[in-house]
Symmetry: D2
Subunit: 407 residues, 4 copies
Amino acid sequence: MSTFGTLFRVTTYGESHCASVGAIIDGCPPGLPLDSQDVQTQLSRRRPGQSNLTTPRDEKDLVHLQSGIEHGITLGTPIGLLVKNEDQRPRDYSETDLYPRPSHADWTYLEKYGVKASSGGGRSSARETIGRVAAGAIAEKYLKLTHGIEIVAFVSSVGKVKLPSTVSSPSQASSEDDDIVEDSLSPEFVNLLKTVTRAQVDAHLTRCPHPETAERMTKRIIRAKEAQDSIGGTVTCVIRGVPSGLGEPVFDKLEAKLGHAMLSIPATKGFEIGSGFRGTEVPGSKHNDPFVSKADGSLGTSTNWSGGIQGGISNGEDIYFRVGFKSPATISQAQETVQYDGTSGTLAARGRHDPCVVPRAVPIVEAMASLVIIDQLLIQNARKTASSLLPTITTLPPTMVKPASSA
Amino acid sequence: MSTFGTLFRVTTYGESHCASVGAIIDGCPPGLPLDSQDVQTQLSRRRPGQSNLTTPRDEKDLVHLQSGIEHGITLGTPIGLLVKNEDQRPRDYSETDLYPRPSHADWTYLEKYGVKASSGGGRSSARETIGRVAAGAIAEKYLKLTHGIEIVAFVSSVGKVKLPSTVSSPSQASSEDDDIVEDSLSPEFVNLLKTVTRAQVDAHLTRCPHPETAERMTKRIIRAKEAQDSIGGTVTCVIRGVPSGLGEPVFDKLEAKLGHAMLSIPATKGFEIGSGFRGTEVPGSKHNDPFVSKADGSLGTSTNWSGGIQGGISNGEDIYFRVGFKSPATISQAQETVQYDGTSGTLAARGRHDPCVVPRAVPIVEAMASLVIIDQLLIQNARKTASSLLPTITTLPPTMVKPASSA
Amino acid sequence: MSTFGTLFRVTTYGESHCASVGAIIDGCPPGLPLDSQDVQTQLSRRRPGQSNLTTPRDEKDLVHLQSGIEHGITLGTPIGLLVKNEDQRPRDYSETDLYPRPSHADWTYLEKYGVKASSGGGRSSARETIGRVAAGAIAEKYLKLTHGIEIVAFVSSVGKVKLPSTVSSPSQASSEDDDIVEDSLSPEFVNLLKTVTRAQVDAHLTRCPHPETAERMTKRIIRAKEAQDSIGGTVTCVIRGVPSGLGEPVFDKLEAKLGHAMLSIPATKGFEIGSGFRGTEVPGSKHNDPFVSKADGSLGTSTNWSGGIQGGISNGEDIYFRVGFKSPATISQAQETVQYDGTSGTLAARGRHDPCVVPRAVPIVEAMASLVIIDQLLIQNARKTASSLLPTITTLPPTMVKPASSA
Amino acid sequence: MSTFGTLFRVTTYGESHCASVGAIIDGCPPGLPLDSQDVQTQLSRRRPGQSNLTTPRDEKDLVHLQSGIEHGITLGTPIGLLVKNEDQRPRDYSETDLYPRPSHADWTYLEKYGVKASSGGGRSSARETIGRVAAGAIAEKYLKLTHGIEIVAFVSSVGKVKLPSTVSSPSQASSEDDDIVEDSLSPEFVNLLKTVTRAQVDAHLTRCPHPETAERMTKRIIRAKEAQDSIGGTVTCVIRGVPSGLGEPVFDKLEAKLGHAMLSIPATKGFEIGSGFRGTEVPGSKHNDPFVSKADGSLGTSTNWSGGIQGGISNGEDIYFRVGFKSPATISQAQETVQYDGTSGTLAARGRHDPCVVPRAVPIVEAMASLVIIDQLLIQNARKTASSLLPTITTLPPTMVKPASSA
């Protein structure tokens, strides 16, 4: 449904042509300094009309905070917010309304609800993501301020144009089935994950922080646009500074919650954490991340194939994952398909459309990541505080208990 | 936490060396014929000791149903069930307990809870999945009996040995950035998805229904075993016969729930639905699934890049997805790592371990798929029944309303 | 938190002096005819300024529907709505702000959140209930239209002035402990429960449908007002036409959900269903409701001490319950108390206040009742539809199975 | 359904004649010393056969802990537990099975589920409460150990035999509507709430800690038993030592959660907190609890009409509430009623039954109270820890911020 989260919850409403889209954020920690600008910054990164790579509509998307804040401080009560829709009228009937758009949500919404919005796929509209981004901006302000957590997403591929990330080392393969080529992350990409900033990401319109690849991505998108076609891509996201211990096995493992969150974003087709699908091909002896002793005496790992999560629980290393977005379904070129009533015909979609959504998806991925992390942090806080009040355990073998000094 | 589902819910308990592992299944439709054998069949497919490809322990894993059933019929009340652990004693201390196993959950469990089970990663044990498989067996019995829904998972890769699935057709590429090679599913693989049965899957110990590939997989696993190493793989799952309309946008889209479910299974690193990451590289004009009129007058699609889900809602086509499992963390060969206290050393794991988990993961993937589908089916049933009682809508343009005859 | 419901959910936001108060209603059945007036009617019954018995502020409380509806039909997607606050500025500092108001939420909000709204008790403001009433109006429109369910609440007492409801029949008591006086509902009150309408309730400003008692209630309220004091009361609510089978044992029994809903309304101190606390004094032989055969062949009960619920599940008889509201905490007369810093002093509350809230509580009680019933109806619909698809049960003794004809 | 709680959750299973009844407790703070005896103590207080006042079956009700504990310490993972049913066979058919027992759950279970257990009302069996009591015992061990919280319930009435609790002081009444008699709690009862122990409660078989009243209650129960009848009563519960700040407005206020919990116990008909329904008759000037400065510098209240909760949030004073239990529906004397098929007749119930359930309800009320308090404590812990990491607020007027020293 339209609520996400357990202790930090966002509930959203709104579709393309209604009065407004908005959200209620419940469970925000009280005492957080917050104003509209904190939210607007990410909303503006999400909105259309930022360049000729995205849809030319130039919506303002100004956020109006309604409640839960006084004198710039959150009260701990629900934060209501909304963004007005510029065009609030239900759409006029059009010849193209006879057709459900292929691979769009027109038909499935009608199947599910029996009615559908005049605008087509109803809540499948990209405007639905405004509430997510607004809520995420609030969450990440808290995470940054209290834990120094940094969440940075970037475009890692557009079609087959990919930001280079791995190096291959042929192993001592000898037969057909022995073709082991171990793909490690390249030192450059490891460094990128450790240091990349939003400013670097925004330096190029495609939001790829690798200038040479960004140029090639731009060309790929323009080519799709010129062909009245579309192209997909992937967004990679890194979360730095997450404390160890987040994630609630067995069903709410941290990667399961992140996967759920990402796969709820429109147009997503895949999610992988850490080594991901590539990791299925690397033997355990290589894939395992050896522990090392860190400067502060705590443990870390020397490699990070795990992507910062082991057993569904964060281990303090950087969390990174990749999300795949399909090529947008709405294209201007003619498509052979059938009408709702089964009549064959040709649909040529009206209007202007994003030939590629991944640049605009970057703040949405960041927002959903923020929402997962803050919720898991609050839940783990509850447990940790509760346990800290119990007497010291003296009856367990020492290897079964975390030393108090490392609490 | 340890509960999954909204209307059809499973809650599980148990780790490696406690008295038993078990589950409570709440919300099962009353009136379903059910006995132990329905559950045991899938449990036996999951248990270790089935072949020399898996761990040699030969646990019986006999299920004991406790409640919610009389005379072989479900009462609608919670079904309690348990499977006894053969070795119920907390483990003895061992030298290797000084080390958190690399990429295992020993350390993160200790970080999260402050204490951990003597067996190491506690609930990260594979025995935790028994409750899932039992619950899934109940769900799938209902789905099969009432809707003819078939859920079949199989091993699609072990390391780099892959069941062939795509054909590539070079397009009219002309420049470096134009290297479009469109990867479609091969007719053979499309046919496999449409017809594959559990009997075919189980015909080979690797649970790959493509004999030639299965042979190569076997060799790959044996090679890992001989090297005291491990290897990962992927499981593909197809769900046939799902009615249109399942999935609860915007946060509980069907692929988001499936992704959540799959990524909660131990050792998973990735999830992709339909065309998945491959789909990010295919232009919209090709990736879109055109609608066609089916024999019964309803709409279907001629291709299925979407994987049976559009806008987060099932469209009646086959749902298929792929799950990536990393190479098992527990290996017998020596690993350089550090102890809990930071001391460097060498860990050589005790015991015997699965060199590859994907064959045993097959029924677990099927179980989690069943749990998602039945829960979403119940939720959509609630809506559909509720709407069916409302008066016929006469005030909306015809393209906004589903014709009553197609209800 | 601020979300209520499982399949039909309302989430609210807003306090006294923020920009607006509002709600998101998620899970409304699609296809329901709905416009602002449906919601406004109940909001207007709730708003202050309706008479000299309530607070003299005359707020407009006009609802603005934002989403989820087109051409007067619900789409099944979330319905956003809001009501603007007339005075949106945080309040100025006042001498009385040094004092937490006795029995108000000023102090506990500060203890809980560490910060509080300038208006005092934040979300404990009566304006918080606007979102509930709006959501309830939508729910009850559905219930009325599809099931003919009628929900009518009325004021049953103000202070010690009580709408007469019982008759006592002394039993053959013989000793001190044998003082059994069996209090049955009077035929007049039973008839009132069966027939009372909102028009009858609204015919008197106190919302008591018993004119003579209503007069006495008015006097009691005026006396409290003149004494710069306040007085409490009770609201009785009847729900007619609820189908049998609603309620989800064991934790979500229908009375438990109703109790939860009612006790979440500001100023409530008690809840009783059917015979309630009175029923604890009546022997089982009298308290039991004998079954009778109804005209349509189904079973009913000849008495209704149960209040329409047995074993946590509705039995098709009228559901009735009573909710106790304490005397409002905010009074104008001086009170000896202490400041936040512990300094003793005298607080004389500023402003004008309701001397008695029960007349305005009537639509709030109705709203919360609607929200419980629709949610439970949807959940039971899911189960019933699911079960109806299963094969006829032939293996159970006949008394364990509901005959198909009575489905 | 059969799960209760958000962060500390219990899920139960089992009915009268299945293999066992049991529960899974999820979210228990790790590091808690716990063994079977902690649970058994409360289970034994709940079990039948304790005296000739209750049902003569003498079930052992021995608990078997399955998981989540090693070496007597909780691991933070789910705790599975079960109690075997002595008679595990589905019941034989009996003449009385033709009749749904009046005011029992036989008929509503059949209406809801379409099938029912041979034992009649399925989960409405008192054995269902075993899982609650076991879970509550774990919760209260934590609450006692870490916060010194004491939860004591006792029987406050049986039929019309009541533990004396109030004193009345006639006010300056002058007319019919002025009949104000202010009922305050008597000093003796206030003292009882402050000091009563479980040992005092258990000193008499009726579990009423007022010996003279306990004697009269015994006689009343025996009289009901001799008449083959039954009688109801009330249980009062006090929770001492709860920190301020618990409860989650607006829908999950502390009294709403307590009410939900109590009204989910079989046979309950009413719940009131603090002054309850009596408080509706007391003017605000008297009902308000003035604040006073406590020895430790914090604020308290000089009276406690509120019952320890204001605005849905605990204020640090004792929480007390009262729960009404109807007279048991199952009685041995003949009742005129109809069969499932509508045939009139006379039902004389088989077997032996509790003539009065309130003595055995005492530990169940305590258990549900424990479950509510620990869950709310964990949730508030999460918020408080989160807020404590934020910078000191300098931009709010001082009366809007809790001084850091009082944190």
